[in-house]
């Protein structure tokens, strides 16, 4: 075995996990502060300057609470479910290129040739955590939440899968690092003005890419169970949804799993449509390690912007009704994504590179 490869991979895994868990904690804080701003409140501002140490206090609270297991639950599956909710969300990050290179080491943990399929496959396993949580709780509201969630996720996975096809029609590769390097050469998918902006083909291709981007982003909203699609845990109808019977850190894992899924979703959107770690005028890591760090910073800045959009939407829009959600997924987004593939194919056939 190649020990250099093993060590660098291990370092990358640990560092990425630390960064993502840090971002996750501060996304929760940002969510509370931004929601307060939108609702004309103050939000958490007591712990540390501007309440910046609030995540630490939250974590301590989660860990120190009594870990209570209700008597009527199915014990083994009740304990299994929170883990199953958290793990797929983190695993997906393995194939996302989060930077160019640092000291010649590419900044992606696993550069596999089925990149985006891996993302979908692992993300589709996230349903199990929620379904099992709903079932093992042996209680009405969690069960309804679990059933809703599984049907919602299966429905929106279709739009998710179809929405990315135009991108791969254009590139001809499923490898996510190839997607990024294509965008460095030809400009970002949805921003034809980056790079050579006089090219007519690029402007035409931006139309299906923009549609893809919108459908994909909305499907990610549905996949992560965020408002306006948070039907599985709609408080006004289902108390707390699938995690009604959970407390302390087991609830914490569900709660934080949702945020990790948000970060992963944003990372995928950034990689596919927003140029990954590339920003016009900034060289890549082969020009020196400081540029490598800048590339990583650019990537996470883009993710942060998308996370802000996630939070902004949650505190602005009302929730859909369940039948509206299903109709939207099956009758609207599914068809748009399908037609979009044809548009992209026609443009590619009549304007060859």
């Amino acid at each position: 075995m190649d020990y250099f490869y093993l060590t660098t991979s291990l370092v990358k895994i640990v560092a990425l996990l630390a960064v993502v868990l840090g971002i996750m904690n501060y996304t929760v804080y940002a969510e509370r502060r931004i929601s307060a701003l939108i609702q004309d409140r103050l939000g958490p501002n007591r712990v540390g300057p501007f309440g910046l140490f609030q995540p630490i206090a939250d974590a301590a609270k989660f860990l120190l609470k009594e870990d209570f297991t209700p008597g009527h639950v199915n014990k083994f599956y009740y304990w299994l479910a929170p883990c199953l909710a958290m793990i797929p969300a983190i695993t997906t990050l393995a194939v996302v290129p989060f930077g160019s290179s640092l000291f010649g080491v590419p900044m992606v943990i696993a550069d596999i040739n089925v990149g985006v399929l891996f993302v979908f496959a692992i993300a589709s396993l996230g349903v199990y955590g929620i379904v099992i949580a709903g079932w093992s709780s042996n209680s009405k509201y969690p069960f309804l939440g679990g059933v809703r969630s599984s049907s919602q996720m299966i429905s929106y996975e279709l739009s998710l899968g179809l929405a990315v096809i135009p991108v791969f029609l254009l590139i001809g590769q499923l490898r996510l690092t190839e997607v990024v390097s294509y965008q460095i050469e030809h400009g970002w998918m949805i921003a034809p003005f980056v790079g050579d902006w006089t090219n007519l083909r690029k402007w035409l291709l931006a139309i299906p890419m923009l549609i893809s981007f919108v459908v994909f982003t909305i499907a990610i909203f549905a996949e992560t169970n965020r408002l306006p699609f948070d039907l599985p845990e709609a408080e006004t109808e289902l108390v707390g949804g699938y995690h009604t019977e959970y407390g302390s850190m087991k609830f914490g894992l569900f709660f934080l799993g949702e945020y990790v899924a948000m970060i992963t979703g944003s990372a995928i959107i950034v990689t596919l449509f927003l140029g990954g770690w590339h920003f016009p005028g900034i060289p890549d890591g082969s020009q020196g390690w400081s540029w490598g760090l800048v590339n990583i910073f650019v990537f996470f800045s883009k993710v942060a912007v998308l996370l802000f959009v996630f939070i902004w939407v949650r505190w602005t829009l009302p929730r859909f009704r369940y039948d509206q959600l299903m109709r939207l997924g099956w009758v609207f987004f599914f068809e748009i994504a399908l037609v979009n593939i044809f548009i992209a194919a026609i443009i590619l056939a009549y304007f060859p590179a």
């Binding site: 040739n113 891996f118 589709s124």
Partner: protein
């Protein structure tokens, strides 16, 4: 991939495959089958067939088994857990499985290809997605289209049957 990983995933597959039939709880059986599929996918990947491996997870573990689980949960199969074990059926099943196993061992033992060791792939990073797609749309285009029509007919059939008014 190292043989250790092969033995590990083969062991996982066998244990959870057995768990599918041994478990009394249908939900536990379904979940064991999911783990079994994951092991199978890992074995495919050890053969450098990344595409098949990942499709195994995406289609079977991610979509088909979720639907299975969904239906099992809605049915509330408490009866199954209390049912007595039918000893005749168990012995008969084990006998058939054993006979089948012996036959497979026999056939594999006779096969000349099983005794050879093959050289590893020239480039392990072959783009298998590309090659599968190329084959499907050139050599096997007609069967591919026919299967497409078949699936469409099945879908329409399901909708017609489920929309029929019951009198």
């Amino acid at each position: 991939m190292s043989p250790v990983l092969f033995w590990f995933f083969a062991f996982v597959m066998l244990v959870f495959g057995a768990a599918v039939i041994i478990n009394r709880n249908p939900i536990a059986s379904a979940l064991s089958l999911v783990v079994c599929f994951m092991g199978l996918s890992a074995l495919f990947m050890s053969l450098d067939a990344f595409f098949i491996g990942i499709i195994q997870v995406l289609v079977y573990a991610g979509a088909v088994m979720v639907l299975f689980l969904f239906i099992i949960m809605l049915l509330d199969l408490r009866m199954e857990e209390r049912r007595k074990i039918n000893l005749v059926a168990v012995v008969g099943g084990a006998g058939v499985a054993l006979a089948f196993f012996i036959q497979i061992c026999f056939v594999v033992g006779q096969l000349s290809a099983a005794q050879k060791t093959f050289p590893p792939l020239v480039s392990p990073k072959t783009d298998d997605v590309h090659s599968v797609g190329l084959l499907l749309f050139t050599n096997y285009n007609l069967p591919f289209q026919i299967i497409g029509v078949l699936v469409l007919v099945a879908t329409i059939g399901v909708i017609v049957l489920s929309k029929r008014e019951l009198r």
